[in-house]
């Protein structure tokens, strides 16, 4: 099966619409996009990752999007410094985003009396909107979405089935929440009384700025007292945990199954790779990079890359890992030295 599109463009048109440089026959007609190893006639593909260079000679794609320096002799090419971005734009041309639902409120949705829902918004089947909530223009709640009391949701948001946004949370514009996302669950806060873990009421909230996307079944806890905050343009993958009072800057990338503990502050443009864990009350500087499975127990300065558990400077960690591999050899060498000294 292929995802088909009923749109067509000449290569010349694609070059113009994406700002890429055409190399070869601009009249070639393109009717779809495909991965390079599966692309056929009439389709365009791309290479952005070295491991796919090997397909350039054998692909049956009618054209390719490539970086300026990538050799390709046998077919027309669109050249761009960022082939991945250019290809993303081409996908958008063939598959313009569609509204999932017609505007209006489905008759099976449960909506409190005093909510404000923009007339262009779509509230799908079996959604539940609590009192005081506000839903912005063109926002789409696909199915079985829960919106708590006094939640505000901006324009052009897309909330997939089973999303739950708890009371008092504030969501900006163009926010995408994938199925099962939970926003504003209680933070994990208890004080030991001597006989029981006394619950600290979590009376804060969550603020999610514009252009944020959050993956399936990810959880974002409300602040204990103030907000938990996710900055504009930050993208979060599936099954991530964001604890109470965490503050995340703009344009961060947080990969699947990572976890950030309470009150940690993450700067702008930070990358946190899969399954990494950060303890609480840290500061992670702008553009820092946290490696996969890293266990971060200390603040990380801006621009620094760390890896390992406990996390260290990435170059140091790699050096240590290399020597660890040699431990059996080093043990033998130490023994040899000891033996030699014993002989003397």
């Amino acid at each position: 099966m292929k995802i088909s599109s009923n749109r067509k463009f000449t290569l010349q048109e694609l070059a113009e619409k994406t700002g890429a440089v055409l190399e070869g026959d601009g009249a070639v007609e393109i009717n779809g996009v495909a991965p390079i190893e599966q692309a056929g006639r009439g389709e365009i593909s791309f290479v952005a990752n070295k491991s796919y260079l090997k397909y350039i000679d054998t692909t049956e794609a009618s054209a390719l999007v490539l970086a300026p320096e990538t050799a390709c002799e046998r077919r027309p090419v669109l050249r761009h410094e960022n082939p991945y971005l250019t290809f993303a734009r081409i996908i958008d041309l063939f598959h313009p985003e569609q509204l999932l639902l017609p505007a209006g409120i489905d008759k099976t949705a449960v909506v409190a009396d005093d909510v404000e829902i923009a007339p262009t918004a779509a509230i799908g089947p079996l959604c539940h909107i609590s009192r005081g909530a506000r839903i912005g223009h063109n926002s789409q709640l696909v199915s079985s979405v829960f919106i708590g009391e006094n939640v505000t949701l901006g324009d052009n948001c897309r909330l997939y089935p089973g999303v739950k946004i708890m009371d008092e949370c504030k969501i900006g514009r163009n926010v995408i929440l994938h199925p099962g996302v939970v926003i504003g669950s209680d933070g994990f806060g208890f004080a030991w009384s001597g006989t029981e873990h006394k619950k600290i009421q979590q009376i804060g909230w969550v603020e999610i700025e514009d252009d944020v996307e959050i993956g399936a079944n990810t959880t974002v806890d409300r602040g204990a007292l103030g907000p938990t905050r996710i900055g504009r343009g930050t993208k979060i993958d599936n099954l991530v945990q964001i604890a109470h009072n965490v503050e995340i800057g703009q344009n961060c990338i947080i990969v699947s199954q990572a976890g950030i503990s309470g009150s940690t502050k993450v700067g702008h443009g930070v990358i946190i790779a899969g399954q990494a864990g950060l303890i609480g009350h840290l500061e992670i500087g702008d553009k820092a990079v946290i490696g996969a499975q890293a266990g971060v127990a200390k603040s990380v300065p801006p621009g620094k890359a760390v890896l390992g558990s406990p996390a260290r400077d990435i170059m140091e960690e790699k050096r240590i890992t290399t020597i660890q591999k040699r431990l059996p050899e080093l043990l033998k060498r130490l023994k040899a030295v000891e033996d030699k000294l014993a002989e003397d």
Copy 2:
């Protein structure tokens, strides 16, 4: 934005109601709680973590809750050995817990004929209660909660949107289940037949005792034959996995993204930090502490703290981690020794 309260207390009243010792002007009027770095006039805050001591002189809070030994000259103070606990009690005074829903069954809920629902219980919109279920007094099912057949749910429970409790599970009193929690999904059990993984039917159940709280999207599997059990007062964070036939004692703390494999027994008062993993069939003694990201492959005696993957005694692990950091230096020193011996 701040979470406002319409209640007011004098500092004197707060001291009396929490058992704290007043230091300074008891007539000061307090109208809310706030984090120390954001608190303003009329608000009370606290310090329980050393890294917030720096705010004591600069905060605009009208009063602070502090430990007996923490210096504070410029404003009135409530002194208590456990400032965090005292502050939790003060939050409760300003924000008494409210019923989320009126008693009764929402008209969009689907309720089988032979269930027993206390008249004081609230069954919110789009919930589904299967036959034979019993729901206790004052329990609240906020929205889209699924209750399987013959489930019993005690008094004063709070089940947030999207909670699912599968057939035959037993939930005690005062249990809080956050959005998306799954209780009683099948355990992961298969026997290889030579050609396929034959499913072992999971005919057990889950028992959750009183005062347990479980975080968003956490999963607790039903036992294969008998129960999976979570003891009274235990608190579990988001995205945790509890496998079949696990038994967890009382007053444990299990932090986000930890996982406990099948049939492992965890004692009372155990702390399992974030992203830790325990293999199956272990025994974890009372008050043991499992560090973040630890990989526990052996039973842990009572009171012992472990860290690392594979997990070791925490002091040993820290010593090893320190030496690992020095491996490049040790390699050089070994080489120097070898060279010297070769010279001789």
Copy 3:
């Protein structure tokens, strides 16, 4: 409490129905199954794990399923090379799988006009089936299940409460999806434009072959362009992340909280233990074994077992782990050698 069955078999009958060899009195009547340490009169149990051998003499079970070589003098035994498999078959005899729901569409379900639902299928309360979907014979959607546009679901599937299958995904026969599973959420793909993370539209889909079982709150992302694929008979535990364009072969076992990054190809019969993480674009050969918490950054050849983060050959990793434990001692020995050389 015990799970009771209203069925009875003689030991002779159980031997015949499971192909086990009877040892002892075949007339003994058995009326249920139980774990060995809890089994009572009239019940049968088994031992497949060495740590339970100690119960053989003390159990009150009326019969046991054991491997040919396991000694047992005091009660009748069913002998089979695979006691666990045999016991699974006995459980099926006492607890034959029951239909959860009557065929038909619940009146609270929301079903688009042009769907095809087999007359033997059951669509439970509060489900939502989007246009173009097809639901096969005897498939059961328990409650609050979301089925996207043009989804095909084969025969005999069981979808537990809160399962969400997004548009265009294809699910085979006999597939079990536990509560909260998300199939076909968008993959995590963005291209940095210089000012923002531009979303790569995820226009692929997910294909799940026959006999697959997927655990609670696990997420499987749709392909970016083509499919994400899970092969026949593969079993996946709770809270696992399967990223876009991953391909998983047949009869794999993927344990809780593991994560597989984009475009990685996993062969047949692979075991991926709990909390393991695989980076993207790898190839994992047939019957490879990935240890718990492993961090796999390189392809793994068929049959190979790896462990650690970064993952290494399991024997090498264990050797290194053993030496790491001795690092404090090695440091002292190195110091002693240095001192001795300094003396000379």
